[in-house]
Amino acid sequence: MEDKKTPLLDELEKGDWPSFVTEIKKAAATKKNAKDLLNQLEKSYGENLGHWKHGGIVGVKGYGGGVVGRYSDSPEEFPDVAEFHTVRVNQVAGFFYTADKLRQLADVWDKYGSGLYNMHGSTGDIILLGTTTENLQPCVDELADIGFDLGGSGGAMRTLSSCVGKARCEKACIDATDIIRDLTLHYQNEIHRPAFGYKFKIKVAGCANDCCASTARSDLAIVGTWRDTLRIDNKAIREEYVEKGFNIVDRVIVKCPSKCLSWDAEKGVLNIIPEDCVRCMHCINEMPKALRVGTEEGATLMVGGKVAIVKGAMIGWVLVPFMKMEAPYTEFKDLLDKIIDWWAEHGKNRERISELIERMGLVTFLKAVDLKPLPQMVREPRSNPYIYWSPEEVENNG
């Protein structure tokens, strides 16, 4: 392998933001495939064209997914990335690591792969970026030895991820990291052996700030909330905020989406109409030392988040307004199983759950998963007068 020049990519070593090119070069110092990755990438930069081939399925024993096969379309020119498969390694919940754990991982990957990583992929996995077909099995075996298992790919439940949750956040209403730990273990088979028509993603956010973008990009999002009243420490409001010049009216009161807050400047007291609060988190975000989430904690389940392919992007919508989330999360798992069953039965190839619901109707879906219609599920009732009545509903209703 000759030492090719990469003038275009070198441009991306300039500037203060840490450079991925520098990282690839670091790996390339010892790894031929990292070097050829750089070379092929330089070619792409020159031509405005990627050089990975379409297709190519690879796998490891006992798993149906977790690796993404990748082949160069110019193997003669870039022989060391002729095969350059990705290994999706299930991340630790909350993305917590120790130095030791990371070094163990680096040791294995130095041995079998490019020495390049995505920390982390958008779904949440540790992406080990590039190895050969031959190296896959031993790599995965040794990852197992250090306690790392594969994540999901293909028509499977995908690797679950969450925000940091109760581990490091005062706002968490549910134990986000424990939930994904528990569900990940419970659904190992669904994650590792693609048997669905398409991907199914679950993400867990401790509260409505949604620090893991769960409603935007998971088929089922679990978002922490509370049922009682948020906790107000008026003394702290006065001392930590108002008396220090914080404009509580401008910053909080007028921005409350449900207009349920008022500030009694005379008494120095924040009043709330608890039943009107939509638990948007804003007031708590603005005055973290004085306001806290309520104590009757649970989750809102949001179904259907995804990006555009095929029927358009969707932000997940309310499926269950409130569910207690207590280990072992049996109520949740029962519901999830029903959802997956219905989707498996009716979903077409490459049809996400929200597209199936759109095609068959939300009511049909609710019936299938034994949920009652609730106004919380919709922004507004229907406006077009095309109303379906089942014969039973006509009988029971006048």
């Binding site: 990282e23 405005n48 730990r181 978002v223 921005k255």
Partner: protein, 353 residues
């Protein structure tokens, strides 16, 4: 047979003692300085988290280096954020400043907290994806070099601004709900290799893959045809049928979308909307793209009220004003024509001239 289905390492064994002890008991946090979070527990215990920028695509050297740093200042404990920054979890408050110094010495950037531009969520690009129209890592690096003072907090912003970059409209990430999203696009329809298609194309799947119904079977060639007027160049068919090729280096490019968000704070989550339909795919530094992003940030920063995210600001002033303030042309491409297009039509006389 190898061990399978054991799942990832248990996070409970990888969190520092202060977290173990105060798990679920955190009371509040403050930000003593940009890049540093100070979480205080009901017990009074304190945890400092120092957030450092990462290129996401990292080498073993990087992994080992941050491990070493974590060992030096954090008993080895660290984490990554959902936007791919590194967080050093410092239990001993005395270690915060030395850690910051070392990061500074090594040229690492610290920041990303609160009303800033944090790390860009991006995708594989030419580095690993066969569908990439552009290189997400390259665009990300180019943008972040330009806006790093917003990451470190050197320049203040009205609110947080989340940027995402995707190399194709599959948008692996949250481009569709980002304050600013950069998305690689095609502008020419796929070309069909009829010969190949007749052999390998699963025609019903290919037909079904088209969001706009542009694909019809062609019994004559045993292949398919694409209705050019209906094709929105989404490339989805090319994922399903390898005989369809859509890459067109001369015509492919980059689009910019604005005003999305995912949090439910104040306003409901919002989709990003098209701001700039096309910019050239100008590697290695995409000056047109970085300029456009900077411009959008600046116009927003100057005009938004404190606390208003991009989409909230536009929501207040209206899109017609957005286009005048940013001086961006409004084109045919901006008008929706997909399935729920009619819900985007302005069915009120309320608008600004």
């Amino acid at each position: 047979m190898a061990k399978t289905d054991f799942g990832p390492p248990d996070f409970r064994e990888l969190i520092p003692p202060v977290i173990k002890e105060n798990y679920g008991k955190w009371k509040y946090h403050e930000v003593p300085q940009q890049g540093v979070l100070r979480h205080v527990s009901e017990s009074g215990a304190v945890l400092h988290s120092v957030r450092m920028a990462s290129p996401r695509l990292v080498s073993g050297d990087f992994i080992r280096e941050i491990s070493d740093i974590a060992e030096k200042y954090c008993d080895g404990y660290l984490r990554f954020t959902t936007r791919n920054n590194v967080e050093f979890l410092v239990s001993d408050a005395n270690n915060v400043d030395p850690l910051l110094d070392e990061l500074d010495d090594k040229g690492y950037l610290v920041g990303g907290i609160g009303n800033v531009i944090s790390n860009i969520v991006h995708t594989q690009g030419w580095i690993h994806c066969k569908s990439a129209v552009t290189d997400a890592s390259g665009i990300t690096k180019s943008i972040m070099d330009d806006v790093k003072d917003y990451f470190t907090g050197k320049i203040a912003l009205p609110a947080r601004c989340r940027i995402a970059v995707a190399c194709c409209i599959n948008m692996c990430g949250a481009c569709h709900c980002s304050d600013i999203a950069v998305v690689g696009i095609h502008r020419t329809p796929p070309r069909i290799d009829d010969e190949l298609a007749s052999k390998i194309c699963e025609i019903p799947n290919t037909v079904a893959s088209c969001p706009t119904g542009a694909i019809k079977p062609n019994p004559r060639t045993k292949s398919v045809t694409v209705n050019q007027e209906k094709c929105m160049m989404c490339a989805n068919c090319t994922v399903v049928c390898p005989a369809m090729k859509i890459m067109n280096p001369a015509k492919d490019g980059v689009s910019i979308w604005v005003g999305g968000k995912v949090s439910n704070a104040r306003t409901a989550p919002m989709f990003s909307k098209l701001a700039i339909p096309f910019l050239p795919n100008n590697a290695p530094r995409w000056p047109e793209v970085t300029d456009a992003v900077k411009h959008l940030i600046e116009v927003w920063a100057v005009n938004a009220k404190k606390g208003e995210r991009m989409g909230e600001w536009i929501g207040r002033i209206g899109w017609e004003r957005f286009f005048t303030l940013t001086d961006l042309p409004f084109t045919n491409q901006h008008i929706d024509d997909f399935t729920t297009a009619k819900t985007t039509f302005r069915s009120t006389t309320q608008f600004k001239f």
